[in-house]
């Protein structure tokens, strides 16, 4: 049961091809980990899945009625401006917005969802704090909580562990795994390869073109997998 199929995908910036002729598919309930060196196009691929970047060739398709409004996303970097007045609660709650069509206000469930996700990420006590005055790691957790609020069926995380301490990293692995067990599909870009091996069901290894796509056990046997694991 394919949820997302990607066929012959080519992505480029101003003529510089970043990803060429990539094909893979993500099934409902999969936990796909995208690995690869810096600049290999991992973030670009996530943006293409989210229609933030249009492909030069090929296509990405959603199946099983998956809608954009059911996706949660943690960007690698946020453009949120430095002097933006917003507190943590407002930011996290805004993740619940995508499921609302015209209703102007948040429901009780939305608030409960936001609160639960903030507790999971241990930022409940920061609710009234000003977002821009938090540390980098705290901001990251706030944006993660927002992504969790938005993720109804699919969660895309771009290097979620960057800037987080080991304790939270460990907890976050658990949170994502739990979501996955509950049926959400996960696509994660990560440099934490041992974590990926431990939790993911599939790996996509990019390196100026796809290097490997398949199950984790196959990956461990493959030459890029062994080489990358040796380095890591």
């Amino acid at each position: 049961m394919a949820l997302i199929t990607c066929r012959d995908l080519t992505l480029s910036y101003d003529g510089n091809v970043v990803i060429s002729q990539l094909s893979f598919q993500v099934n409902s309930g999969d936990y796909l980990c995208i690995v690869g060196e810096n600049g290999s196009g991992k973030s670009t691929l996530l943006k293409a899945i989210l229609s933030l970047k249009s492909p030069d060739r090929g296509e990405i398709r959603f199946h099983e009625g998956l809608k954009q409004e059911e996706i949660g996303y943690l960007p690698q970097q946020t453009e949120a401006q430095k002097d933006f007045p917003a507190n943590v609660w407002e930011v996290v709650l805004s993740g619940c917005l995508n499921s609302k069509r015209l209703c102007p206000c948040y429901s009780k469930e939305d608030r409960a969802r936001a609160r639960a996700n903030m507790e999971k990420l241990e930022i409940a006590d920061l609710a009234r704090a000003c977002f821009r005055e938090l540390s980098g790691g705290q901001q990251r957790r706030v944006l993660l909580a927002r992504a969790l609020c938005a993720a109804k069926r699919l969660l895309l995380l771009d290097e979620p562990f960057a800037g987080l301490d080991p304790v939270i990293t460990h907890d976050l692995h658990g949170i994502v795994k739990e979501l996955n067990d509950e049926g959400s599909t996960i696509i994660m870009v990560s440099h934490d390869l041992s974590g990926a091996i431990a939790h993911a069901s599939h790996i996509l290894h990019l390196q100026k073109g796809p290097l490997f796509f398949g199950t984790v056990s196959d990956y461990l046997q493959s030459s890029p997998g062994m080489r990358f694991l040796g380095e890591a």
């Binding site: 943006k47 996303y73 933006f84 507190n87 917005l97």
Partner: protein
């Protein structure tokens, strides 16, 4: 003080200006928060100049002022939004081009048909006498529409302003909300321009938001504070203008400047 207020309200044009202007001040400040945070302040300023051009041409042709300028300014708003989305630097220059261009066209139209007279002065610097009875009705209805739409889409406007990329990624129609903001701004600018003047209306949009951001740190508190501040500064400005016979627009801006300085100092003391 109360004597002064009672005296003011005895003039029907004053009462009209207070009601319509208060509502416009409210709309301007709410939209201002989004415009300032989205770095769209230039658009507000540009629109006021386009509005001047449209109004001047309408006056020269003896056409109905609001009915002509609202569509023109709305169209200009869409155009400017496109420009600033596509390329930041070139967009800025093009917006400046459009706004000074329409200023020039407006002045030409007026001076060819009526000579450089009191119209030009009033359009540029605003006039308390600008609001006729029909205009007040239009202003009240349109401001009410702006306020209702803003309230309905408050949280979406927040999401689109805070992180456009995330909003788009998670299926929120970012383009539509940007258009909505531009549209509401266009209407507000046209309505407020004749009272405040083309050169000063954009300060009514920008000042309350910037002032509130000195002290408040959540979006909601900034929005509420801007709204309150804008209306208060508007009323104080009008009273000053009446008491000392100064132009309305400039009086309101000066009060806004004072409020900014007070908040600036307060912010420094609070967050030192």
């Amino acid at each position: 003080m109360f004597e002064l207020l009672r005296e003011m309200l005895n003039y029907p044009f004053m009462a009209r200006a207070l009601v319509a202007g208060g509502l416009i001040a409210l709309c301007a400040s709410l939209l201002g928060v989004s415009l300032v945070l989205k770095r769209y302040s230039m658009i507000g300023d540009g629109l006021s100049h386009v509005s001047f051009g449209a109004l001047a041409v309408a006056t020269a042709l003896n056409a109905a002022p609001l009915q002509v300028s609202i569509p023109v300014v709305v169209a200009a708003a869409f155009l400017m939004l496109r420009l600033s989305e596509n390329s930041r630097i070139k967009g800025d220059a093009l917006i400046a081009l459009i706004s000074t261009g329409s200023l020039a066209v407006g002045i030409m139209a007026l001076s060819l048909t009526r000579g450089m007279n009191v119209d030009v002065y009033n359009f540029l610097f605003g006039s308390i006498l600008a609001m006729g009875r029909g205009d007040v009705l239009v202003s009240v209805v349109l401001s009410a529409v702006v306020l209702v739409l803003y309230a309905l889409f408050y949280s979406k406007i927040f999401a689109v302003t805070f992180d456009e990329c995330f909003a788009r990624a998670t299926g929120i129609k970012v383009g539509a909300y940007n258009l909505l903001i531009a549209l509401l701004t266009a209407v507000t600018v046209v309505l407020g321009m004749r009272l405040m003047g083309a050169l000063l209306i954009s300060s009514m949009i920008i000042f309350p938001a910037l002032t509130s951001m000195r002290v408040f740190k959540s979006y909601k508190s900034v929005v509420l504070s801007s709204a309150a501040l804008s209306v208060i500064c508007f009323f104080v400005g009008i009273v000053i203008s009446y008491a000392w016979a100064t132009p309305v627009g400039a009086s309101i801006v000066v009060v806004n400047i004072l409020a900014f300085l007070v908040f600036f100092a307060a912010g420094h003391i609070k967050y030192r």
